[in-house]
Subunit: 333 residues, 2 copies
């Protein structure tokens, strides 16, 4: 038996989650059975979309069960294997996050080819957030030469990849983020115009100053006032990729939508929501492009790291306070 700790959902949050919605527990795992592997997790991810799974509502991913370990992306190492396809020491990726280790059917974990990158990159720049940026820009927003691109949440895991992919493809990029550190980071990765939304009273005016001729693409990570500003600044036929709305995930009442949505008619705008799981087929192309961009020094990333499974709820809550620069991660071993 080996003891592993895990984080369970103790109660469903209303509004912003609190520490008492989570509980730390320990489980003793036997050796893996035939066809199973035992994995010790090295890294786990916390992501804004997980907030939705804490509610008991039907959505694109099922709600977390009360009293059980939550799940999410993780990278780990096989420590014992009952399956001929895996051996101790193999690096694997799985959906069994929020726990130090687990036993699972071999078919539910994937061997990880790190392409020479640190393994936790596959929870961020080279993983789900990176593919989200890539698919959102190239497929949903149908990025084309000359487009001026506006990104909100631009210093986050997805946003910082959006800005860099757009820059690598030669676009003018306007990035919005909150606070001097994030703005400095955006400048360091070559964003053309930055907006510190915490320092701006009128986001529409700030965006119009940054993009006096308007924007062609908006990659929306936050919703709310940013979306309203983007509608105002949009050029005719602009395309909006709606990736998420972190400003609304903890809302207990439905917030009003953009007051200027009607602009979509006269400007002939397109707005499309998407989730990354509809674009897994783009992963090989993304990894090919990413390898090239990393080699050319065009794409880099930041990580904000909490250490220890007991800190995972703090890392998660930090997302909603904007505490992460780049990818928010929890180091488990």
């Amino acid at each position: 038996m080996t003891a592993y700790r895990e984080i369970r959902l103790k109660s469903r949050p209303s509004g912003l989650p609190k520490a008492e919605n989570f509980e730390l527990a320990s489980v003793d795992l036997p050796a893996p059975g035939a066809g199973e592997v035992q994995v010790k997790n090295l890294w786990m991810t916390v992501d804004p979309y997980m907030r939705g799974r804490m509610n008991d509502v039907k959505s694109y991913s099922p709600p977390f069960a009360l009293g059980k370990a939550m799940d999410g992306g993780a990278v780990g190492e096989v420590v014992a294997s009952g399956d001929p396809g895996f051996k101790a020491g193999d690096l694997v990726q799985s959906g069994f996050g929020w726990r130090e280790g687990f036993n699972a059917a071999a078919a539910t974990v994937q061997k990880l080819d790190t392409m020479g990158l640190p393994p936790q990159t596959f929870l961020g720049a080279a993983g789900m957030p990176g593919l989200t940026a890539y698919a959102g820009l190239l497929k949903i927003a149908a990025l084309k030469d000359g487009d001026v691109v506006f990104v909100s949440g631009a210093a986050g895991a997805v946003g910082s990849m959006v800005t860099q992919i757009a820059k690598a493809k030669g676009h003018t990029v306007i990035g919005s983020a909150g606070g001097a550190d994030k703005i400095a980071f955006l400048k360091s990765i070559g964003v053309d115009h930055t907006i510190d939304y915490k320092a701006e009273k009128d986001l529409s005016a700030a965006l119009t100053r940054a993009a006096p001729d308007g924007i062609d693409v908006y990659f929306d990570n936050v919703g709310g006032e940013h979306l309203e500003a983007a509608l105002t600044a949009a050029r005719p036929f602009a395309r909006f990729a709606l990736c998420g709305a972190i400003s609304m995930y903890n809302a207990t009442e439905m917030p009003a939508g953009p007051r200027n949505l009607v602009m979509m008619v006269g400007k002939q705008l397109r707005m499309e929501g998407f989730i990354v799981s509809s674009s897994w087929d783009m992963m090989p192309a993304f990894h090919r492009d990413l390898a090239q961009w990393v080699k050319e020094g065009k794409v880099t990333w930041k990580e904000t790291v909490f250490e220890g499974i007991d800190k995972a709820p703090d890392a998660f809550l930090g997302l909603f306070r904007g505490e992460n620069l780049g990818k928010m991660l929890v180091k488990l071993a």
Copy 2:
């Protein structure tokens, strides 16, 4: 000299226009010069989009000038011609509405082939409103087999064509309109489920009852609460064609947008605004299909007619009180 009356914009309305924003004037026209025609208008159209042109703001069509006749679609008869391409008695279509007659360069009017239909049809079912319905459904909403279609303003000039085109193509159609007469009309043209929005307290609940399995396409003519209901009822990957938002055209303050816009992400919805002038190239295909549908008895239309140029402002204002069943027209001769 021949005297013709016309309606001029006297002052710019704030909110709902009033009679005093318009003035009736008379002009004496000489015989047409070389290369010109003199046209006596038979019919003119009033359309909701004209409200936007009464404001002094940049939009997809320029604002009406104060103290001058407004313009808009009209069908008329050439009464005198200084151009070899036209002769007295020719039926023509033009953008010189809101007046009983005019002189204009021959190149600015088009001869009208009525395809055996009454000429005023080309201001409605067979004209701009019909093409709006056709392009919005087929191109913008990318209608495909099996789609469940929801249309607001379903008894109006555009909406009644949307419902009938969707029915002609074999779809289940839910139409919303206000009042018993309009609902009876919708039933008479084969709409599967009708919603009298004036009689419903909760539009989302009404739509969910009408479409328990959800909708795939929403053709939006009104905005506001209807858009919110459509977001709630939308199936994954539903497409919304945003044609206009008559509920907002007279708003003096920007109304709040749909509170549930964030549903676009999880349901992966697409929303696209459009104006018909981007789809003139579809007119020949539309006329071919329309001729066939009329022959098969699948498409019909209603007209609400005011008589005399002096009644044109009343006809226009009636649009915002929902007084029209089908196309609102002014008969001028």
